[in-house]
Symmetry: C2
Subunit: 166 residues, 2 copies
């Protein structure tokens, strides 16, 4: 809603420059993805959680109580695998399985907040660094960045869906 594209009635040379910039964005995005995965991996190692476990925990923390099967779909995991993931998360005191009053087959996975401070502490370095980085931008620039990130996420979701279903 905020980013305003600028039209390009520009010199003939600008095409190459543009491609370079776009390729740079895509490359940086790959690096970023790798690096964030690695960060998650190390955080997970500190609390004895697999990468996928941490992903699922994040999903539950972020998107409220969810059923195991919905979680499995979102995380791209086999339902039977999700049982194991949830077992580990439950054993570690990260989540609780509650009966769903509306459907007695179903289970609602709820995040317990008790260990969240611990997690937050592990992300504190990254968190502070992001605050620093963001502090250098104007409000308008931050909106531009946020908008870009959301659009890119949406593109990723779309591409993943296409691979999964199409």
């Amino acid at each position: 809603m905020s980013s305003v594209p600028s039209q390009n009635g520009e010199p003939a040379d600008s095409g190459r420059q543009r491609r370079r910039l776009t390729a740079g964005i895509k490359g940086s995005l790959r690096d970023l993805s790798n690096q964030l995965s690695l960060l998650n991996h190390h955080v997970g190692a500190r609390v004895e959680l697999k990468d996928a476990d941490l992903d699922c925990l994040d999903l539950v923390n972020r998107h409220g109580p969810l059923s195991p099967s919905a979680l499995a779909r979102r995380a791209g995991l086999h339902p039977a695998t999700m049982t194991g993931v949830l077992d580990r998360l439950q054993r570690g005191g990260w989540i609780a399985r509650e009966p769903d009053p509306a459907d007695r087959r179903a289970v609602a996975v709820r995040a317990l907040r008790s260990r969240n401070a611990e997690l937050f502490g592990l992300y504190e370095g990254m968190n502070a660094a992001m605050d620093d980085i963001c502090a250098g931008y104007s409000d308008a620039e931050l909106e531009l960045l946020g908008d870009f990130l959301r659009r890119t996420t949406s593109a990723g979701r779309h591409a993943a869906d296409e691979l999964a279903n199409g």
Copy 2:
């Protein structure tokens, strides 16, 4: 920590707005990370590669020939695990292990380009979507975005290093 007065001569409201924007960026970044991981997961499934395998392949593709141990450090994997990863990648024809002429203990892992078109095809949807997104920005905006991504990646690297070593 819900109400911190603004310290400078700005409108009383601006601090809150800023925090909202910054928090939004961080949240979007998490979503993005999850989504890109999921995309990689699906891509990997199409070519029978684990997530970690794909990460390693990307590292080799991107950062040239590397030794297994250097790769293990970069990917946050145990050296013995890396042997298994490389076995799979080699069996699939993604990489080759070459002797390092400078150090006869060492091995250089080289990416074979033969199957890269296949991978590229799987990322085609995302690739095109990113082109679309980028097309809406001016050169200056693209530079801003790229700079942000690089800085964020660097922050992630720093935070991960601190967790791994510190």
